[in-house]
Assembly symmetry: C2
């Protein structure tokens, strides 16, 4: 049904679906979806993973600060943290100085879950990139990192449309 494949699928090919930008959207969505699939058996969803990672690197954050770091709205964080706290992976500790805000901490179970999570990410990675050898994967990662930098994407924040320096308040 499709026309014969053009000789090369370069950016100048007549078929936009062969261009890098389209392929990026397509493969990127696939990667995100498959990662979510692998997370599901652990009872976690992608946003949970981001929170666990962030708290591992900076224990004791307030919800406000966490939201800032992740590009997540405070109201969304409430539900996500409720779920993580219910599963015993995160706790909201009272803060002595200021009784309005909590200090967020990973529990031991939370740190364990994080390790599982890294293992799962590695499996996902290996499966997704099965078509490429080691040096090709590095080259791919290099290209993607350069694009991410040039596009001013915040490192480690998944929702890709979130730009660096773009304030939460909408306009900057």
């Amino acid at each position: 049904m499709a026309r014969p494949r053009a000789t090369s699928a370069t950016p100048n090919s007549p078929d936009p679906s062969a261009w890098p930008a389209f392929l990026l959207s397509q493969v990127g969505a696939h990667s995100a979806g498959r990662f979510a699939d692998r997370l599901a058996p652990l009872g976690l969803k992608p946003p949970h993973a981001g929170i666990l990672r962030a708290l591992d690197r900076a224990d004791g954050l307030s919800q406000q600060a966490l939201g800032e770091a992740l590009g997540t709205f405070p109201s969304r964080l409430v539900a996500l943290l409720d779920e993580l706290e219910e599963r015993g992976l995160v706790e909201r500790r009272d803060r002595p100085g200021d009784r309005r805000s909590y200090a967020l901490h990973l529990t031991d179970a939370g740190r364990e879950a994080l390790q599982q999570l890294v293992r799962v990410a590695r499996q996902h990675q290996d499966d997704l990139c099965a078509a490429l050898d080691e040096s090709e994967r590095e080259q791919l990662a290099g290209y993607l990192r350069r694009i991410a930098e040039q596009q001013r994407l915040a490192p480690g924040i998944h929702p890709g449309w979130k730009l660096l320096g773009e304030g939460r308040s909408g306009k900057s």
Copy 2:
């Protein structure tokens, strides 16, 4: 940057957010979002673009066949086609043999919109890949195409989690 392999952002780095799989999700979501931004002024959304492209390649499809080709539910297509028909870009023609189904056709305005769309895609492409030169873009596209093939992603269908040969039945 002339560092040996295992140092910074390789697949074996301790920080998963530097691995290709994460970068793919992040940059891919960014690409999709920015493309949607560029489509908005034309009064179109990404799914509309897919429909216009599909009809250009195969005029006269039924809604059923179009949904099959795009991996879209029939019920979702109704609204999308309503919008396109209202804007005069697509028409549902009665089919002589079978009065249950329509034959979908691009109008002249639809073909014009498609050309605009390709121009917009090219701009998007140039902006997104500004960090890479021509030969690097081709290499990137090549890697992505190999991943897409190995992962059995259907060519040209955006929702990446849709696999070739996988039935329409969703899983929970």
